[in-house]
Every structure is written in structure tokens, then in C-alpha cells.
């Protein structure tokens, strides 16, 4: 069943369009991530869903009900604010209890919920402190907990882990998913950290300048990005402009680029002659065949080595697990046809 349905949602601030005709469906209990650079409209979309902004156009349905004009306090959503927005006059416990009190949840239930969340977010030692006595990371966890205790049908997170150190971030990330699954919450999660998005999500919405670039599973986004923006934004990618020469074998297309010719295996024939060609640094094979290039930089990274290689004045990245190539060496690079991705050329 569809939990959130967003149709052609547009938000304008005066003349500036923050979101343009965005459509999205989120299934019940699904965990969807909004990923995109700063200012692309992620917070704006969350505020539209929770009701703090009125859309210029379009509709929002939650659990089949049109809530486009419903005030925030009457929507079954909880938002975990990017700026924490804790109540400065209330202790951590009182902050966490605020929502359940408003919802008239019995004292016994309330305590159980609050203690549960405090335990999971390691906040029990801070319960009687005021927000200004907490570290940034602790405040962020209180803000997260305050949304989680609500157990709403839709929970919205605005970069809830941005202020945590790497270890705590991994731990809290796992807790968020566990709580979300345990209580069957539908979640929309905002981040600009692609690793976080890939690791946590059922699906990822990649936004750019208020528009959707691609909505897909993490695997599909990584292995089959549709646009140059997505290819660049998710993981590392080498992208070249190219021209399609023609089909050399069924399902194998020849593409001419500045650094040489590639054969690309694809089931969907390219629509245009002008395309962008993309491959991941780790799909390159260093060997005897392929394009010849010169190593211009080498960085050992532990379980792989990062090489910067130049061919015909074009430089690109290659990751290799076993290579002895040094700076200045000449190497041969080939890319398996099925590892090459054709992207639609965008303006």
C-alpha cells in the first residue's frame, strides 16, 4: 500500500523555484532517502510533507488522505529537524515526553516509550539535563528521539546524523532502521552523504536543483545511473562525452570518445547519437590490451590503489587491487563492455 503520494509538487519562494513538479510514491514501511547537494530542496520537501510550507502547486496524500491543506499538528508525521529545535526550557526527558503528552498517551506507556528510545540512543545518562548542557551530538540524538517516540505513520529525518562521529553514526544509523522496522514506520530520510544513502535505504531519490534526477534502489543507482549528475554524485565515476558509431554486434554499441573507442554492452539502444559514457574506477582492467595511458598520480589506499591515468590529454581514475605501476609508467587499460554505462546527455 502507498503511504505517501506526492503529485507534481512545486514550491516557489517568490520567483525562485525550490522544487519543480516533483512526484514520488513511498510504500508503507519503506525507507526512502533524499540525496542531493546543499540547496537542492531536501528540507523544503520535508517541510512540505510535514505541513510547514504550503505548496505552490500539486498535492500530498498520506495513507490515502489528501493532506495538502492540513495543518502540521493534525498530520500523522514527525519531523526530526536539521537544527534540532529542542525546547530550551525543558529537560531531555521532558523534551522526549512532549509529543506523547500532546497525544494524551497514558503515563505508563509514555514512560515505556521514552525509556526505550533513551536506551537505544544512549541518552539515559542525560535525561535530567537541559539542552544547553548537552554536546551537539547529544542534542541531535534527543531531537531524533523526540520524533521516534511519536511512532507516527510517517517519520521524516533531516540529516539526523550530521553531527555524530563516525562510530556513533554507524550505531545510530542501525538503531534508526531497527526502530523504523520494529514499529513499521514509513520513513523519508534526508542526507547529502551518499554512503549513508546507499547503506540505509530501500530506495534513493536523487535531487538536483529542485528536480528529481533518478529514483531507484541503491544498487541500480550505482550500477545503472541514468544521468551524468547521478553517476558523479553516487560513488566515483569517469564520464566522457562520446558519439555513437553504430551497433557492431547485437547488443554491442561502438562509441567514439576523446580517449579512444569503446564497445558498450546495453539492452536499451541509445536514443541519441550524442551520449555520455561512464564507468566506475574499479571496473577498469589493467593488462596488455586496451587503451594506453600514462600514470600521473598514484595513491595507495590499503585494499586498493588509486591511479590517475592520462590518455590523449584526458585524465581519469582507476582503482586496482593489485598493481605495481608507478608514477610515470605506461599502462594498458580495458573496460569490460558490460561495465560501461551509457548516460542520457543532459543540458
Amino acid at each position: 500500500m502507498v503511504a505517501i503520494r506526492i503529485d507534481e509538487l512545486t514550491k516557489q519562494f517568490e520567483a525562485f523555484t525550490a522544487l519543480a513538479k516533483l512526484s514520488l510514491e513511498v510504500e508503507q514501511e519503506e525507507f526512502v532517502t533524499l540525496l542531493g547537494p546543499s540547496g537542492c530542496g531536501k528540507t523544503t520537501l520535508l517541510k512540505l510533507i510535514s505541513g510547514f510550507l504550503d505548496p505552490t502547486e500539486g498535492t500530498i496524500h498520506i495513507n490515502g488522505k489528501d493532506v495538502t491543506r492540513t495543518p502540521p499538528e493534525a498530520r500523522d508525521t514527525a519531523l526530526c529537524f536539521q537544527s534540532y529545535a529542542l525546547f530550551p526550557h525543558l529537560t531531555v526527558r521532558e523534551n522526549l515526553e512532549f509529543g506523547p503528552r500532546q497525544k494524551r498517551i497514558s503515563a505508563h506507556d509514555r514512560k515505556a516509550r521514552v525509556d526505550d528510545v533513551a536506551e537505544k540512543l544512549s541518552l539515559h545518562a542525560q535525561m535530567d539535563k537541559l539542552p544547553n548542557q548537552l554536546s551537539g551530538g547529544q542534542q541531535q540524538r534527543v531531537s531524533l528521539g523526540r520524533a521516534l517516540v511519536m511512532r507516527p505513520s510517517v517519520i521524516l529525518f533531516d540529516e539526523p546524523l550530521s553531527n555524530l562521529d563516525a562510530k556513533l553514526r554507524d550505531q545510530v544509523r542501525i538503531e534508526i532502521r531497527r526502530i523504523q522496522k520494529e514499529y513499521g514506520l514509513t520513513a523519508i530520510y534526508v542526507t547529502h552523504d551518499q554512503n549513508e544513502a546507499l547503506a540505509m535505504s530501500d530506495r534513493v531519490v536523487v535531487l538536483n536543483g529542485g528536480r528529481v534526477e533518478q529514483i531507484d534502489t541503491p544498487e541500480a543507482l550505482y550500477h545503472a545511473p541514468k544521468t551524468r549528475f547521478v553517476a558523479d554524485f553516487i560513488g566515483d565515476a569517469n564520464v566522457f562525452s562520446g558519439t555513437v558509431q553504430g551497433e557492431v554486434q547485437p547488443g554491442l554499441w561502438r562509441v567514439e570518445t576523446a580517449m579512444g573507442t569503446y564497445d558498450v554492452a546495453t539492452s536499451t539502444p541509445p536514443k541519441e547519437k550524442d551520449v555520455d559514457l561512464c564507468w566506475r574506477p574499479e571496473s577498469a582492467v589493467l593488462g596488455d590490451a586496451g587503451h594506453t595511458g600514462k600514470v600521473i598520480n598514484r595513491a595507495f589506499q590499503g585494499h586498493f590503489t588509486d591511479l590517475m591515468i592520462e590518455t590523449k590529454g584526458v585524465s581519469y581514475r582507476v582503482q586496482s587491487r593489485a598493481t605495481s605501476a608507478q608514477e610515470g609508467d605506461t599502462v594498458n587499460i580495458s573496460i569490460p563492455p558490460e561495465q560501461l554505462i551509457l548516460l542520457e546527455r543532459t543540458a
Binding site: 510535514s50 510547514f52 495543518p71 502540521p72 499538528e73 508525521t77 514527525a78 519531523l79 529537524f81 537544527s83 529545535a85 529542542l86 525546547f87 530550551p88 526550557h89 525543558l90 521532558e94 512532549f98 509529543g99 500532546q102 497525544k103 523526540r146 511519536m150
Partner: protein, 284 residues
């Protein structure tokens, strides 16, 4: 801190604080001394509790205390209650909000006595309010509104005069609350009243207390509004004090004055504590 530093601080404070302390101290001392029979202007001086015991037995005195407290408490509450919605409304600047804010603060610039005369003229037997009522057909004969026995006139004037002051204090306090905090409360299901009582009021309690206390002290010792627009069968404490003084009874006037000071002090403490207690109970 070294002794020299303390000396320096004391030296810096003396001109301001010293003057204030000397003046207040002298006034309080003279008033208290006079109420116990010293510094009698006419006749002999000497310690006596006669003036106090006489005064406490007087019906005039207790009625005047009740009446002054009534005016003081209600004026403070009305001013603050009306100032809050205005402060919240003016929290975010909008087209014309500066002008509205300025107009609302105008009463601060108009002398109370002038305002009281104006008010009396408007509500008088032949004033424009009565003319309007008759013209609209609500009543055939003019209604007597002047010097009403519930002191509604005085309360209106006090509220009118003090509201800008409360507004000034509360606007600053309310502007200090971030939008996101209010949004968070809303998101967690708090409607308008819950947002006010659980977030806005507790976060602005200092401004609220300051307004209540200062307005209470001003209104409890009201003289000019009472003389012009107040009920004729009741006297405020200031008025009573002046009455005694006019009779040449400085000692009784001092008894009323000292009582007024104590009421102002105790009353404002009670109002400040009351405001905080009420909010504390709401939270838990």
C-alpha cells in the same frame, strides 16, 4: 579579588547607586519614623503605635487597601494578557508592522492626566459614546458611565497606559524564540493554546514577571486616574494618603504610605512567584 579592586568598584558605583540608596533610604526612614509618631510637623514628636492601631481599625483604610490591590492586580493581568497576542502578532516583521508597533506605543508619550480627561469627556453624560449609543438606538436616555463603582474606567485607563510597556518587554522576549522550536511543538501535536502555555509563556516568563510587577506597582499606587475617573465612594491608597496630608495629619498619611510600600513589595513578589508556579504546574 584584591581590596584595591573592590575599592575601585565601590568608587565607580557610589555616584549612581549611592544617590539612589540615600534618596530611597531617607524617604523610607522618614515615612516609617513618621508613622510611629516621630517628625510630627505640628505638635510634639515621640514614639507611639497609636497611629497604626487607629488606622488598622478604620473601615476606610481596609476598603482602600482592597480597592488598590484590585486595581493593581487586574491592571497588571489585563495589560499582559492583551500584550501577548500583540507581541506574537508583531513577532515577524510584515508590511506596516513598524507603524502598528509605533501607534501601539503612543500611550507611553501621553501624560496620564491628559488621557484621563480625554476619556472622561468621551464617556461623559453628553459625550460621544452616549451620543452614538442613542443614535444607534441601543438606549433612549444617556447612560451614566463616569466614575463607575467597579472602577472599570480606571482599569481601562491603566491597561491603555501600561499595555505598551508590557508589549515592549514581551516583544523582545517573544522574538527570542526560534521559529523551528515553535514548529517542533506544532509538529508534535501542540495546537495554538498548548504552544502558548507550554513553550511561549515559559520561555518569556522573565518578561512576563517584569511586566506584571512593574505595572502592579504603578497601578496599586494610582492617584491621577483614580481622582479623575475612579469611583467616588472609594479611595485608592495614594488618594487616602493625600486626604490625610491635606488634613495636616502627616503621621496617618505616613501609615498609609508605609502600608502602600509594603503592599507593593509583597504583592509584586507574590505575582512574580505566582506566574512561575502556574507555568511550572503546566509542564509536569
Amino acid at each position: 579579588m584584591s581590596a584595591r579592586k573592590w575599592l575601585l568598584i565601590a568608587a565607580l558605583l557610589t555616584p549612581g547607586l549611592g544617590l539612589i540608596l540615600v534618596l530611597i533610604g531617607t524617604v523610607v526612614y522618614i515615612a516609617v519614623a513618621q508613622s510611629f509618631g516621630f517628625y510630627t510637623i505640628t505638635g510634639e514628636s515621640g514614639f507611639t503605635t497609636q497611629f497604626w492601631s487607629d488606622m488598622i481599625g478604620r473601615k476606610l483604610f481596609s476598603r482602600s487597601i482592597n480597592y488598590s490591590i484590585y486595581v493593581g492586580v487586574l491592571s497588571a493581568i489585563f495589560s499582559v494578557a492583551l500584550a501577548y497576542p500583540l507581541a506574537l502578532w508583531l513577532r515577524k516583521p510584515f508590511a506596516g508592522s513598524m507603524a502598528i508597533g509605533a501607534v501601539l506605543k503612543a500611550p507611553l508619550l501621553i501624560p496620564g492626566l491628559v488621557a484621563a480627561f480625554l476619556f472622561i469627556n468621551i464617556i461623559s453624560y453628553n459625550g460621544i459614546v452616549n451620543q452614538l449609543i442613542q443614535w444607534l438606538g441601543f438606549s433612549d436616555a444617556p447612560i451614566r458611565m463616569q466614575n463607575d463603582s467597579n472602577a472599570i474606567g480606571v482599569l481601562i485607563l491603566q491597561t491603555w497606559k501600561n499595555l505598551p510597556f508590557a508589549l515592549l518587554l514581551l516583544t523582545g522576549a517573544v522574538r527570542g524564540i526560534s521559529d523551528e522550536v515553535l514548529d517542533a511543538a506544532r509538529d508534535l501535536g501542540a495546537g495554538t493554546w498548548a504552544r502558548f502555555s507550554k513553550v511561549i509563556a515559559p520561555l518569556t516568563v522573565s518578561g512576563m514577571q517584569a511586566s506584571l510587577v512593574i505595572i502592579f506597582i504603578g497601578a496599586v499606587s494610582d492617584f491621577s486616574f483614580q481622582v479623575i475617573a475612579g469611583p467616588t465612594n472609594l479611595q485608592s491608597m495614594s488618594q487616602l494618603m493625600v486626604t490625610f496630608k491635606d488634613r495636616g495629619d502627616w503621621n496617618s498619611a505616613a501609615v498609609v504610605g508605609v502600608s502602600l510600600m509594603m503592599i507593593a513589595l509583597i504583592g509584586s513578589a507574590l505575582m512574580a512567584i505566582g506566574a512561575r508556579l502556574m507555568l511550572r504546574r503546566r509542564l509536569t
